[in-house]
Amino acid sequence: MIHWFVEPGFWSNPVVGTALVLGAVVAVVSAAVGVMVVVRGQSFAGHALTDVAMAGGAGASLVGASPLVGFLLAGIVGGGSIEAAGAERIRDRDVGTGVVLGAAAGLTALFLYFVSSSTSATGSTQSVLFGSVFTVSPSVVPLSLAVAAATLATLFIVRRPLLLSSLSPELAAARGVRPRAMGLLFVLVLAASVALSALVIGAILSTALLVGPAFAALRVARGLVGATLGAIVAGVAAVELGILLSYDSFYWSAAHRSVPVSACVVGVVLVEVAASAVWSRLRRGRGR
């Protein structure tokens, strides 16, 4: 029965295999980081870092470097700037994030202008904006896996002080945790996560993968561990299903034009968020 949904060559195509593995890894990182993004109320910072990643990816294309390296370097600089611009109060943090967002958007426009006028970088603009999981260079995979492992390990090691400082910076400080250090560390973890998701579904749509599965899972789960596991399942499902839909879409019309992976992934994420909203409403209706 499965052949009704999977077009020929899907499982045997090595490009698809790489995309499925890389996509799953990126989805796990995005979901785990995304739960803390929602708990900390830093969705805006996550969105700003996607713009920062765009500037980095465009800059990397301009000099012929790997987009992932550009995403990462720009994210580290941008994330550090967001924290340095003001983390004591939420309003200061938002203003700092907005300033970094504006600067990143300006740089992105500048770099993409140069990239689009350069014949040696054909296709880079689409790659930066909408991802390139089917065309990702095999040489990028080891670095991606290493960044993913380091990001997850860091998040897991600091999970308790990070959670405490997210719930109440004042309580955390009284216990001996340094909330600003936690904030800086987390924004660097966030930058790494955004860089990875930008590689798969593009910088523009990586916020959806970061926040969507986490938001849906937080609505449904009763505890934080359950929410994290739920977000991982939802994120992996969205990416894998998105890759399948994108692959299949090649055969849907005589013109053989695929729907981009990023659009398919975001479509699945939106369905998940809508389903969680219905679930949440039904549960409230039953008074649970």
Binding site: P161, L164, A172, R175, G176, R219
Partner: protein, 274 residues
Amino acid sequence: MGCEPLAGGRRELVHVHEVEVSLGGRTVLRDVDFRIAEGEFVGLIGTNGSGKTTLLRVVLGLQATTAGEVLVAGREGRRGGPIGYVPQRVAFDHDVPVRVADFVALGVDGTRLGLARRDRGVHERVEEVLASLELGALAGRRLGALSGGEQQRVLMAHALVSRPRLLLLDEPLANLDLPRVHETIAVLDRICRAEGVAVVLSAHEISPLVPVMDRVVYIAHGRVACGTTDEVVRPEVLSALYGHHVDVLNVHGRVVVVEGEPGDPGTHPEVVVR
């Protein structure tokens, strides 16, 4: 104005000596000098903006001083000491699925880095504290789904779970109705007497605390007076503290502290003492 710890062999736990704090170029605490012994119940009394929260933050090591010395258990005031802290207000997001038991456990291991799972001893201690505060039934509930009074008790459990020697509470009675006020004070008194935890509770009204308080630290205009209620809530002591005349009146069995001369348009009742 300084004061000595209670007699009876109790050891000194907190030593605040000639502390001064400036915020934004303004001196908000000056010549603050008091001591707290182990197992004491102390009320930190003053009006809004008198410096109570700043003084608690000084003891916690969260607020730097411009002069003076703060020792807690013989060591300079620093973060993460043997202190449990209940801040004035923590707003928990309704949608954050952090369960009461997990939040309370962070009072034990919230500073811990590493890959290890939470050990069984922490779970047992959390259950013990929740039971002692009659919160056992809430252990699996989301923090954000609790009422304000329940959240405050959970914050107390979070503060007590690490077996602190000193418990600081910043305005825990604000926004509680009278039965809840008396209930909260009774719980704190039991903890103080049964477990030997020194309790410092800030409030702007002294009345409900009088039956349980060993001593009062009265703060006004950044200066403090310390002693028993009878020693401190007197016209000559409070007048010296405020820097102008203050009356202490007995009205229908309650004592009203009135700032300013009788008939002065600026006169207003400030603190009521039963």
